[in-house]
């Protein structure tokens, strides 16, 4: 049997850590490589070797089930994947290609830091097989970037997106963050307008989440930084949604908008409960109701790979209740919504209230599906809780 298996490849390195970020990524200083960002190159080659071994391990796991897998999408995230040489990243793609069948239209995405982009780099990435590039733009306002503790120059975004288009990338995305402390409505509008002025096909926009254990988290906890009011953040979502729509970008997940046909197929796999293998430290995988994840630190990851080839830290088998919870939680986020026909009468009755208050699309409701309206998307978690308990 041939099944689809997407790949997520984690690159756990950054030149420096941004104040709001709690991702599993490490700076040269944290890895005791000194403070020079270029130091990453001294370990990147051997790190890729480890990834190749994990991919061989994935291949064995799939073969043991007696099936074979076709790879519809590959996503390189981080960290900062563009810190590494394109040729090294290409070795990973080659390894996946040799162990599995790559779909002819395989979507291969790389997350890019605008500061690391040169025309040569872009050519190399295309040569390595990448066909989609996603830039971390976050904001057009320098004081907002400073509040996020981002280092990139906003002008670099415009320059690097245009370079990527010129180099031949057809699918281009930018990430925006709203609701940063100190961000005015005008700041946000400026960011949205700048993003829409670029030759992109896809936009992600996220309300800032303050994570404990980050620099920003500590600042908020100490009261040095005050998070903006949730109502203003909601208004920013509405503003962005209106502008994206007007520019021909349709929402397909509540934080993602795309030109028709340019939706990120890799992320849709996550939300539709598809199978994927996450390679690299701390990466999560999901195969047929089983979730498993790797040890978090790159050093531990390397040790595991070298010792047994299997870097898994732990796993979780989802029972039917957990699977149902995840399905509701994820599919409700998408424009396709979810069928409510199998729900309890009591749950449906409770949802009727959300319909009346305008949080659910009534045409979809008539067809037996829950689809969130614009205001409904803003309270999606609440509606999920209404369904699940």
């Amino acid at each position: 049997m041939i099944t689809d298996l997407a790949f997520y490849v984690h690159i756990p390195y950054c030149a420096r850590r941004c104040g709001y970020c709690d991702f599993n990524t490490y700076t040269p200083t944290e890895l005791s490589l000194g403070s020079d960002p270029a130091a990453i190159s001294t370990i990147s080659h051997s790190y890729i070797d480890l990834l190749l071994q994990e991919i061989s391990h994935a291949q064995r796991v799939v073969e043991e089930t007696g099936s074979s897998a076709r790879v519809p999408t590959i996503f390189f995230g981080g960290g900062t994947p563009t810190l590494l040489d394109a040729s090294d990243l290409g070795r990973v793609i080659t390894q996946i290609q040799s162990g599995f069948e790559l779909a002819p239209d395989c979507e291969i995405t790389i997350e890019a830091n605008p500061d690391t982009i040169t025309p040569e780099k872009l050519d190399d990435l295309l040569d390595a097989g990448f066909n989609r590039i996603s830039f971390g733009m976050q904001s057009a306002a320098p004081h907002v970037l400073a509040a996020l503790d981002r280092t990139h120059n906003p002008d670099n975004v415009e320059r690097s997106v245009k370079l990527a288009q010129q180099a031949g990338f057809k699918e281009l995305s930018v990430d925006l963050i709203y609701g940063t402390p100190g961000e005015s409505m005008a700041d946000w509008e400026q960011s949205v307008d700048l993003a829409l002025s670029l030759p992109i096909t896809h936009i992600s926009a996220y309300a800032l989440i303050v994570e404990s254990g980050t620099k920003l988290g500590a600042q908020v906890k100490r009261g040095e930084v005050v998070m903006p009011d949730d109502d203003q953040t909601a208004d920013k979502y509405l503003l962005a949604d209106e502008k994206f729509n007007a520019a021909g970008f349709d929402w397909y997940e509540l934080s993602n908008w795309a030109k028709p046909g340019s939706e990120c197929r890799h992320n849709i796999t996550y939300w539709q409960g598809g199978d994927w293998w996450g390679a690299g430290p701390g990466a999560h995988s999901h195969i047929q109701g089983r979730r498993f994840w790797n040890v978090k630190h790159p050093t531990a990851y390397g040790q595991r790979i070298l010792a047994s080839g299997n870097p898994m830290a732990d796993e979780e088998i989802l029972d039917s209740t957990a699977q149902q919870s995840e399905r509701v939680m994820l599919e409700l986020r998408m424009r396709s919504g979810i069928s409510y026909e199998n729900f309890d009468a009591k749950v449906i009755e409770g949802l009727g209230e959300y319909l009346r208050e305008g949080y659910l699309v009534s045409e979809a409701w008539q067809r037996g599906r829950l689809v969130l309206t614009q205001s409904g998307r803003l309270i999606a978690d609440r509606i999920v809780r209404q369904i699940l308990f």
Binding site: Y8, A205, Y206, A207, I209, D230, D231, T233, A234, D235, Y237, L254, S255, N267, Y270, W271, W276, G278, G282, A283, H284, H286, R291, W293, E316, A322, S325, E326, M329, L330, R333, E353, Y354, E357, Y359, S375, R377, L378, I379, A380, D381, R382, V384, R385, L388, F389
Partner: protein, 624 residues
């Protein structure tokens, strides 16, 4: 060494009244009564050094933690007087110190001939101590004034000796000075107890009369009744009879506490000890009652028996509705040990099934709630405490209202509320502040006396309802903790009262209804709607909150609909994390009560019904 080895000490039932001294210690919380009692146990060697622990006599955890005595104790201490070299038996009766338990205190006092008035010499006398001192004086007890904690650097023995001397009419130099902590002066105090307090007087040949001054339920032994024999004697196998009910029991065991129970051959005139009859409920062996013999009953009971009367009522509801049977069981169990606790089932639209409970006062209420939660592992919501109102309706019908939700809706002819006489002791710099507070609370000044140059006693008549509602907290905070309060009921008075209802989305929430003075209805409504706006989380629709008297809205607030309740990101590794968060939120939802369509966190009920200080706590909890 004036201690007497227990084996050689005069035995119960064989101790002559002349050898007995019965005394209690009157003291305020923190003035060191338990430490002094511990020291006495040590010096008389009834407790070996290695078995000693702090607050030896306070048996309940709650007593030790709060540093208060809820139930009385009576300890038999053998002592050889350092003055005349004779052997004596000292019975120390440890009494509760709080205003809620005044009746229990008065019965303990009635079991004694003398009282040690113990005052912290860094703080001076407090209102409750003064009230108990007056009680002791009314009972004709010999008072031995003692200043404690003379080892403290902040001690002002001269100043407070003067104050005590003035209060009881002795010379300042007659005031003893001790330190329960170091033991200084404690032997001398024991000698003075022997020298000053009269021996008990009774008729050994008359029909038995023994005063019950406490009654404690023990899960192994049933009710243990503490008694002081006045006339005759008590021996095991006696067929005894309760004077108030005429019910007969067999005395299965008679003994003394020293300080662990020791079975004895009996108790004679003037002796203090315990009787076990096998009854399981303290209401069958009530404080203040007289025990006599079934075959040869006394003609007259000892004076002073009263049925306990609840003064404050509050609804107690299990947080989880399924715990209702457990709450009933817990109350039944607690009542075995608390004759003053009354309760009956109640149902609230907002809180479900629970009990309307009557208490002696606020401390009693707090203790009951805490014991229910602790001993039966229950989580409870208690509604705002209220007093008992006598309401006469327009058609001349009279009714007693113990619950605001029972307050009649139609025309009301007259409402009467309980009134107390309150005594406040404080440094004189706070006179203005205290008078202002009492005035705000509808108080009428009765008088004011200086206890010393800078300490004053202020007396007011106040509605009990005003005291029940955070008066004590206000008094403490406005006087930086220096003022102390005591009060006693003095009857009822007519007042201009109204019921204020709180409505969420147009629906009355019975748990928030309150009976308040007409002039304060608006303030109450504004405060309550404001509090609820803070405490109830935003929901997917707007929630109007209103306060109303009958059909008239007197205050309104509104909780706007929530705009944003979503986490923006949900990719690969976020999924498990998010599902687990959902599971946690599911637990949180169990702590919500549905009031109509509105989810109200338990904390909102608690905080709305208590004082401002609790709101921040509740908010912090609600955010978890």
């Amino acid at each position: 060494m004036p201690a007497i080895p227990l084996a050689n000490a005069p035995a119960p039932a064989q101790t002559k009244p002349e050898q007995i001294r019965n005394f209690c210690i009157i003291a305020h919380i923190d003035h060191g009564k338990s430490t002094l009692a511990d020291r006495m146990l040590g010096i008389t060697e009834v407790v070996e050094q290695r078995n000693m622990r702090a607050q030896y006599l306070d048996r309940m955890d709650i007593e030790r933690e709060r540093g208060i005595t809820i139930k009385s104790q009576a300890v038999r201490l053998p002592w050889r007087s350092g003055i005349d070299g004779q052997e004596y038996i000292l019975n120390m009766i440890d009494t509760p110190g709080h205003v809620d338990f005044t009746y229990e205190v008065s019965r303990s006092l009635a079991a004694c001939e003398g009282a040690v008035l113990l005052v912290d010499c860094a703080q001076g006398i407090e209102a409750q101590t003064l009230a108990n001192l007056y009680l002791a004086m009314e009972n004709n007890l010999t008072i031995i004034p003692v200043l404690n904690k003379i080892d403290l650097p902040a001690a002002q023995p001269e100043k407070f000796a003067e104050e005590l001397a003035k209060l009881i009419g002795c010379q300042p130099e007659d005031v003893l000075r001790v330190s329960g902590k170091t033991g200084v002066g404690v032997e001398e105090l024991l000698d003075q107890i022997v020298a000053q307090i009269p021996a008990p007087v009774g008729d050994a040949s008359a029909p038995t009369r023994a005063l019950i001054f406490d009654s404690v339920y023990d899960s192994y032994r049933g009710v243990v009744t503490y008694v002081r024999v006045v006339d005759g004697k008590l021996t095991p196998r006696d067929q005894i009879q309760m004077f108030s009910t005429g019910v007969r029991h067999e005395a299965l065991e008679v003994g003394v506490i020293s300080p662990e129970p020791v079975v004895s051959k009996g108790l004679g005139v003037g002796e203090v000890g315990y009787v076990i009859t096998g009854v399981k409920d303290v209401r069958q062996s009530r404080v203040g009652d007289t025990i006599t013999m079934h075959n040869n009953p006394a003609k007259q009971a000892l004076a002073g028996y009263k049925d306990p009367r609840p003064m404050v009522f509050s609804g107690l509801f299990p947080l989880d509705g399924a715990d209702f049977p457990l709450l009933r069981e817990a109350l039944d169990k607690l009542q075995l040990n608390d004759a003053a606790l009354v309760y009956e089932p109640e149902s609230s639209a907002a809180l479900g099934f629970g009990f309307r409970c009557g208490f002696l006062g606020l401390l009693h209420m707090e203790i009951v709630r805490e014991r229910l939660e602790r001993e039966s592992n229950l989580s409870l919501i208690s509604t705002a405490p209220n007093v008992v109102y006598s309401v006469t309706t327009g058609d001349g019908k009279e009714m007693t209202v113990t619950n605001p939700s029972e307050y009649p809706d139609g025309k009301i002819e007259k409402v009467e509320e309980p009134i107390v006489r309150a005594t406040v002791l404080a440094p004189s710099e706070f006179i203005g502040t205290i008078m202002e507070l009492c005035q705000e609370r509808r108080g009428i000044l009765l008088g004011m006396d200086y206890l010393s140059e800078d300490r004053v006693e202020i007396r007011y008549t106040l509605p009990l309802a005003e005291i029940v509602f955070d008066f004590f907290d206000q008094l403490k905070s406005r006087t930086r903790g220096y003022a102390s309060l005591d009060y006693e009921p003095v009857g009822e008075a007519e007042a201009d009262l109204v019921k204020v209802d709180i409505l969420l989305q147009g629906e009355k929430v019975d748990a928030f209804s309150a009976i308040v003075h007409k002039d304060k209805a608006y303030a109450y409504g504004t405060m309550m709607t404001g509090k609820l706006r803070e405490l109830i989380p935003r929901q997917q629709f707007e929630i109007p909150i209103q306060a109303a008297i009958g059909g008239r809205i007197i205050a309104r607030e509104s909780i706007r609909a929530i705009r944003k309740d979503v986490l923006a990101k949900c990719y690969g590794g976020d999924i498990s994390r998010k599902r687990k968060l959902l599971e946690k939120q599911k637990e949180g939802k169990k702590r919500m009560k549905m009031v109509g369509r509105v989810e109200v966190p338990q904390e909102a009920f608690v905080a709305a019904l208590t004082t401002d200080a609790d709101i921040d706590k509740a908010k912090a909890k609600a955010k978890e």
